[in-house]
């Protein structure tokens, strides 16, 4: 199967801090790929790198065979029409209704007349189960519904790639179940390629075709969910099982406790 | 997104702004003579222009008919030459007309007072670029005091 996205030897720094050190990943087309790892290692940054909002310090990112970092502005905007990103907060436009939000990319990038747009919007909303909510304002939606509305907007132009940034964060079990189902079904029904960035292990393992685990600026594990579950790496196992202590230590590095409590004035 | 109400209010806003602009231009400000209407130029030589400035008014009987366009010294005899922009409404001033530098009020700003002269057979009209021959310079305070003291000492 072809790779829709290829990350080759990517290094990315923020100031002096190295976020990614020479990592390589392949996102196969038509499949759901999960990217997991501890909090704060920069998973959202990875999505921004793929989308061309950030430039790597070295290495390359290929989208459908074309190099993203070296693209000019126009080419980048053209490439972005085939990509879609679902932000953690949904990022709906607050001054329009749900309908107008989903219609926005259609009205911007196509010349379709309003009747056709209406049909498309309702279909997309139907796919995420929100057709009845089309006239509501984003402030009236619950968190889960807002995310689904944002998802409808993300698939409005039938992109090739859709990137989910922590879609399950802070959701109740039912909403989570809904989102999990939607991600998988949309991927298959629309022949999308999905990249799900998350740390909800159980949820994403149910639907992922391929998994990457990032930690310590590197890829520490990759493979199908089964392969990952049987991985030798202690770090991977700690992550999967959610153990409090292990290669990622419980205690933040500090001086010996006896010296600090009983020792001199400064401790 | 763009409701009728919003469009209407924006239209009203712009209408009010235009009304304000018109009020300010027409009702509050006077129409500057030069710049608005056609003018023609006359020149006059003075011994002393006093406090006359460019854009000072030119009045006939107190009515503004033009503005001072330029003040400079004649190259040859170093006397001040004042160029006046007169509105074309007021053509056909006889060449016997006179100009004087007057002061509005006691301490006011100075202006040019134009006194149309006699007009009868054989008298030409002032055309664009002509010189007004009869001029009266500005009163200089020191000269006045000198005259006063001189006449006083004579008594």
């Amino acid at each position: 199967m072809d790779n829709l996205v290829e990350i080759n030897n990517l290094t990315f720094k923020r100031g002096d801090r190295v976020i990614y050190d020479d990592i390589s990943m392949e996102i196969p087309a038509g499949k759901t790929t999960a990217v997991m790892g501890p909090s704060g290692i920069g998973k959202t940054t990875l999505l921004r790198l793929i989308g061309g909002q950030l430039k790597p310090d070295s290495g390359d990112i290929l989208f459908a065979g074309k190099s993203i970092p070296t693209m000019g502005r126009k080419a980048l905007y053209r490439a972005r029409r085939d990509m879609s990103m679902l932000f953690q907060s949904g990022a709906l436009f607050t001054e329009m209704t749900v309908f107008d939000n989903v219609a926005y990319p259609l009205r911007e990038h196509t010349q379709l007349d309003e009747k056709l747009i209406r049909t498309l919007v309702l279909l997309k909303l139907q796919a995420v189960g929100l057709r009845g909510a089309e006239a509501m304002m984003p402030s009236e939606l619950s968190g889960g519904m807002a995310r689904r509305a944002a998802l409808a907007r993300a698939i409005a132009l039938d992109p090739k790639l859709i990137m989910y940034d922590e879609p399950f964060a802070g959701q109740d079990p039912i909403s989570m179940g809904v989102l999990v189902k939607l991600i998988r079904e949309l991927n298959d029904a629309l022949n999308l390629t999905s990249v799900v960035v998350t740390h909800d292990v159980d949820e994403v393992m149910q639907i992922a075709d391929y998994v990457y685990i990032l930690a310590d600026k590197k890829v520490i594990g990759s493979g199908t969910p089964d392969q990952i579950r049987h991985s030798d790496s202690q770090l991977v196992q700690q992550f999967l099982k959610g153990e409090a202590d292990g290669p990622v230590p419980f205690h933040y590095p500090a001086a010996d406790i006896r010296t600090q409590l009983l020792g001199g004035a400064r401790g | 997104m763009l409701t009728r109400k919003i469009e209407l209010l924006v239209g009203v806003f712009v209408a009010i702004a235009i009304a304000a602009g018109l009020m300010l231009s027409l009702y509050v400000a006077n129409q500057g003579i030069s710049g608005d209407q056609e003018t023609y130029q006359l020149k006059a030589k003075f011994d002393n222009i006093g406090g006359l400035k460019v854009r000072s008014a030119v009045k006939v009987g107190g009515v503004i008919v033009g503005r001072v366009a330029d003040i400079r010294l004649d190259d040859k005899n170093f006397t001040p030459v004042v160029t006046l922009d007169i509105s074309t409404q007021y053509r056909d001033l006889p060449e016997t007309s006179s100009v004087a530098i007057l002061t509005s009020g006691l301490l006011g700003e100075q202006y040019i007072g134009l006194q149309p002269g006699f007009s009868f057979e054989g008298i030409d009209v002032l055309e664009d670029g002509d010189f007004i021959e009869d001029t009266k310079s500005a009163l200089v305070l020191e000269d006045l005091i000198g005259q006063f003291l001189f006449s006083k000492s004579k008594e």
């Binding site: 990038h109 | 763009l2 602009g21 509050v28």
Partner: protein
């Protein structure tokens, strides 16, 4: 001591960097093929938000300032028997100075801070990022209409301010304090020059409009996308706009009315 100098140097360089970013943003927003069909509704909507909704505060302030000016000037002018000069006094102060400057300050406080907060919030909730990912340039779609709306609305508001102020001056001077109505208008008319006073005042408000709207829009676009960041950016808009307006006013006045 040395540390203080170092931080001063760094702060200055930061300011220059910010101005550079601001210029870059402005060019990105304005140098574009205009898309009248798509962008005009956005522009009109912003004129409503920024202009129409400032109309109340500008008119009321103009009225009161005109009235106060008439009141204060009257007490001084009667000492010299010069009540007839009340008209030009009020009109010239408003047209040359108070109209453009006070309108700019009010605008910065009301509309400018609202613009900064709105754009900052869009940045914080990742709406600007969403637009980028949807292959829509937020500079053209969000920033540009707001910039043009501010640039167009503010001079109009300044005209309204001056006009209402002059009317307010008339209400106090003529209707209350007894100055002759004919003199109020006629002496005013002979002292106020269209090209000198009205036009120069308008030019001032154009310059202020450019600066205030630019500052407001940039601070929103550039802010740290947290709640503290947005509130800091909003404050910065009001403070920086006000200082810029007052500073520019001095320079422009010296150029236009100086000797």
């Amino acid at each position: 001591m040395v540390n203080k100098l170092i931080s001063l140097g760094r702060a200055t360089l930061d300011k220059f960097a910010a101005m550079g970013r601001a210029t870059y943003m402005l060019f990105g927003a304005l140098i574009a093929v205009p898309q009248p069909i798509k962008n005009t509704p956005l522009f009109i909507r912003q004129v409503y938000v920024v202009g129409v909704q400032s109309l109340l505060i500008v008119s009321v302030s103009g009225l009161f300032i005109g009235m106060v000016m008439a009141l204060q000037s009257y007490t001084v002018l009667t000492d010299y028997g010069a009540e007839d000069s009340l008209g030009p006094m009020v009109a010239l102060s408003l047209l040359r100075e108070l109209g453009p400057v006070v309108t700019a300050l009010l605008f910065a406080g009301r509309a400018g801070s609202a613009l900064t907060a709105e754009i900052g919030l869009m940045k914080a909730t990742e709406q600007l990022s969403s637009l980028e990912m949807m292959a829509i340039d937020p500079l053209r779609r969000v920033i540009a209409p707001r910039f043009w709306a501010g640039f167009v609305s503010m001079p109009m508001l300044a005209l309204i301010f001056s006009a209402v102020g002059i009317i307010g001056g008339k209400l106090v001077g003529v209707d209350w304090l007894g100055v002759d109505e004919g003199s109020y208008w006629s002496v005013m008319r002979s002292s106020v020059e269209f090209s000198e006073d009205v036009v120069n005042g308008f030019i001032k408000s154009l310059v202020f409009a450019l600066v205030v709207t630019w500052i407001a829009v940039f601070n929103g676009y550039d802010c740290v996308p947290t709640s503290e960041g947005i509130s800091a950016a909003t404050t910065r808009t009001v403070v920086n706009s006000s200082l810029a307006v007052l500073g520019l006013d001095f320079i422009l006045t010296a150029l236009m009315f100086g000797l």
